[in-house]
């Protein structure tokens, strides 16, 4: 049967077809749908782990117990999980272990654009890279076979364009699941103390040598000899872009991007006159191929940054721009914005008006850095807000008293905010941390986490009590506020900033888009045109439902316009009514 599938759906399908029934992940664009889709298959166990490091450790445990296991994350998630990944490379996996890294060239929804192919080389773990959905499915199966064959973890690398593009996939018959789990003891292989790790270190090099040999005849390292004047070495989605514009060139398409098949590459190099290496981001293939003594053209003509498309490759090779006839027009941008009724809006409206430095984190609320809210001043990675607020407050000493706030979402706090908060209590911090608790992982599309009380597969479970957790970490000043109440929010922030020692405010209200939220959406509000003075204070909320309309000034009045509420968008959260000094909104 043929179906249209996204790369992510196809990876989930491939994993299932391979007879795998165990997976763990932390959500992150563009990887999220892989586990959501996998979790729907019959008889599988799939979990959202609190973070990527835990997900990988869970998968390692399952593999050691004899179960084929999958761990899934976005590119920056591999940084979080790097610690176990680098050492499971030494121990091997007993059963099969595949780690999906979904990279994000062009930073469509990420804080950086790192090229995770480097991890494969760095951790000495083989990596497969599919170019479309059909390959995503097949490569997922091959990755498990490779892992089992060589007793190694295997990376499967996707990019946003592979994960989120759809193409036709031929479904295969799933392999029947076989329970091969058992407790076995092999401390020499799995206890990585120096004496034993040194021995395994040698095994890693031997294994790599074997995989290199295997790569030479690996069926997804494909040579297509056409026009011998030009050869292109490429992998993943850029293969499709290049084929699109240069169908007649010769190609070496690498399905395995680590380790590289040196003999095959040399053979290809002998068959063609001139070679281009077409790859997004780092000159990863280029450097290794040049080190083989092969002359290739790469980053001197192709960009280092952003994803490619057929036009970028065409113009780089043809050395002239063949863009569109019509330049794009200069029109207002449409940055993503906090939704109407978003509970973050009230909190960040208040925060933006304090003269404090606000260390931010990863989540929808990061969008509040923009005008008009301007409610946070840094964003580095998941959990960084807490550690940074502490560091900043310690460095500033008296100057920083009451001037440093860290903000972090509930899912992000559980991901990596707990340890730095413990550090704040331990090292006598003075900063204020606000947990923006909207009871879900909103930015990636409403995933469950330990504080929601539900698992990925929809079962009720023990619900983490954030207040109790924070208290047990050693934080004495804790309060819970409702960010829909601006007065209460402002007062709580002022009071907690004035206190000595660390404080935590839990700003609690479910995401307005969340199906399970514990409040009803109110009727839309209206602005009384007679009472509106056109002062624009309500526009300072940056609510998409409120807009400014010009009016013809009345006689004797300088008023240029009024605010108007779009009833179709308004959720009746009431923030604008609270900020209006003229009682015009009800």
């Amino acid at each position: 049967m043929k179906v249209l599938m996204s790369g992510n759906e196809a990876i989930a399908r491939g994993v299932y077809e391979a007879g795998v029934r165990f997976a763990a992940a932390y959500p992150g664009t563009p990887s999220t749908e892989i586990l959501e889709e996998f979790s729907k298959y019959e008889g599988v166990y799939a979990e959202w782990s609190p973070n990527e490091k835990v997900a990988v450790e869970v998968a390692i445990g399952a593999a050691l117990a004899g179960e084929k296991a999958l761990a899934v994350m976005k590119h920056v998630g591999v940084n979080v999980a790097a610690d176990p990944i680098f050492t499971v490379s030494y121990t091997g996996t007993n059963s099969a272990l595949v780690i999906v890294s979904a990279d994000d060239p062009s930073l469509h929804s990420s804080q950086n654009e790192q090229d995770n192919r480097n991890y494969a080389k760095f951790a000495k773990i083989p990596m497969l890279e599919p170019a479309d959905a059909q390959e995503a499915k097949e490569f997922a199966k091959l990755a498990f076979a490779l892992s089992k064959k060589f007793d190694t973890p295997v990376f499967l690398r996707s990019t946003t364009r592979v994960s989120h593009s759809k193409s036709i996939v031929k479904l295969g018959k799933p392999v029947a699941y076989q329970d091969k789990t058992a407790i076995t003891f092999n401390p020499e292989k799995y206890v990585m103390v120096p004496a034993l790790a040194r021995l395994r270190r040698v095994e890693v090099e031997k294994r790599l040598e074997k995989i290199k040999q295997y790569a030479e005849t690996f069926r997804e390292n494909k040579m297509e000899i056409n026009d011998r004047r030009v050869g292109i070495i490429t992998a993943g989605m850029p293969y499709n872009y290049a084929k699109e514009v240069f169908p007649d060139f010769s190609y070496l398409k690498l399905g395995m991007v680590y380790p590289l098949p040196e003999k095959l590459i040399k053979t290809f190099a002998k068959k063609v006159k001139k070679i281009y290496v077409v790859e997004e981001l780092d000159p990863y293939l280029e450097e290794q191929i040049k080190a083989m003594g092969i002359d290739v053209i790469g980053k001197e003509i192709f960009p280092y940054t952003n994803e490619f498309d057929p036009g970028i490759i065409e113009s780089a090779i043809k050395k002239h721009l063949k863009g569109g006839k019509f330049p794009a027009q200069k029109i207002p941008s449409r940055p993503p914005n906090l939704c109407p009724g978003c509970p973050h809006r009230g909190l960040f409206y208040v925060l933006g008006k304090q003269k404090v430095f606000i260390t931010g984190d990863i989540g929808c609320y990061t969008l509040s850095y923009m005008k008009p809210l301007q409610g946070l001043h840094s964003c580095i990675c998941m959990g960084a807000s807490v550690g940074m607020a502490h560091g900043m407050s310690k460095a500033l000493k008296e100057k920083g008293k009451g001037k440093v706030v860290g903000v972090i979402g509930d899912s992000t706090f559980v991901h990596s905010g707990i340890t730095p908060l413990l550090n704040m209590a331990y090292n006598k911090s003075d900063a204020l941390i606000i947990i923006c608790d909207n009871s879900t992982t909103a930015m990636t599309g409403m995933q469950e986490h330990p504080a929601t009380g539900f698992t990925l597969q929809g079962e009720r479970t023990k619900q983490l009590d954030l207040k109790v957790l924070v208290s047990s970490l050693g934080i004495d000043n804790i309060r819970v506020i409702d960010p829909y109440n601006l007065g209460e929010t402002k007062e709580a922030i002022k009071e907690e900033l004035a206190k000595d020692g660390p404080s935590v405010i839990i700003s609690q209200r479910g995401c307005v888009l969340f199906k399970r939220k514990d409040y009803a959406t109110e009727n839309p509000l209206k602005i009384d045109a007679e009472k509106c003075t056109g002062c624009k204070v309500c526009l300072g909320l940056g609510c998409p439902a409120i807009s400014w309309q010009k009016i013809k000034p009345k006689e004797g009045s300088k008023q240029q316009g009024i605010s108007v509420i779009d009833e179709g968008l308004c959720t009746g959260c009431g923030l604008c009514a609270q900020v209006c000094k003229f009682g015009a909104i009800s």
Binding site: H108, N240, D309, P327, I331
Partner: protein
């Protein structure tokens, strides 16, 4: 029908929440049913929060890239009026444009720091031979729900595509729960008649 090796590219563009991804899914299913190879590409993730959404749909006997290059899109379907201007560099001189008359203000317009561009249709008509203006939201309301405006636009697009109407209808029927099918078929027809 298409010549050998010919690939057609359609760009659907608009704002998060307008049903663009659903529309491109339906389009792909139609192309598959009509016997074409098809690929589509989109960026989502942050779109829920009011950002731009685009979807490239490409079909032909064999499609490699899910993304079209600048200058080579045959048809732009703009689900929002101003968004049509954002992607003109993807078009060539013979490209066609279908544009929904609906305006959705971006933040800068909402807070009054930038005006909403004026004379959009006039500009498009001056530069391109085929510009089809559709009051998709009004027609969708007539069909039963403003949410069907994406299907109205597909109806308008189907006029440029030379694919049997029965295939469209069959796929639309499969794409919605039973109680919503008639409304969407009506919306599709309104797009054809528009």
């Amino acid at each position: 029908m298409l010549k050998n090796d010919e690939i057609k590219s359609v760009l659907l563009a608009g704002v998060g929440g307008q049903g663009i991804l659903k529309a491109s899914d339906i389009m792909c299913a139609v192309m598959m049913e009509a016997g074409f190879d098809v690929k589509k590409s989109e960026v989502h993730g942050m779109a829920q929060r009011g950002g731009c959404v685009t979807s490239h749909v490409r079909y032909g006997s064999k499609v490699y890239s899910p993304l079209e290059k600048a200058g080579s899109i045959q048809t732009l379907v703009s689900f929002e009026k101003m968004e049509s201007l954002r992607y003109l560099h993807y078009l060539g001189k013979d490209s066609s444009i279908i544009v929904n008359n609906e305006k959705i203000n971006p933040p800068a317009v909402n807070i009054g720091t930038m005006p909403y561009p004026s004379d959009i249709i006039k500009y498009l008509k001056k530069k391109f031979k085929l510009v089809m203006e559709v009051d998709a939201s009004d027609l969708a309301k007539k069909a039963g729900s403003v949410k069907t405006s994406n299907i109205v636009l597909l109806g308008a697009l189907s006029k440029l595509m030379n694919i049997d109407r029965r295939i469209w209808v069959k796929i639309i029927e499969k794409s919605f729960p039973e109680k919503l099918v008639k409304m969407n078929i009506d919306a599709f027809q309104m797009g054809i008649d528009a």
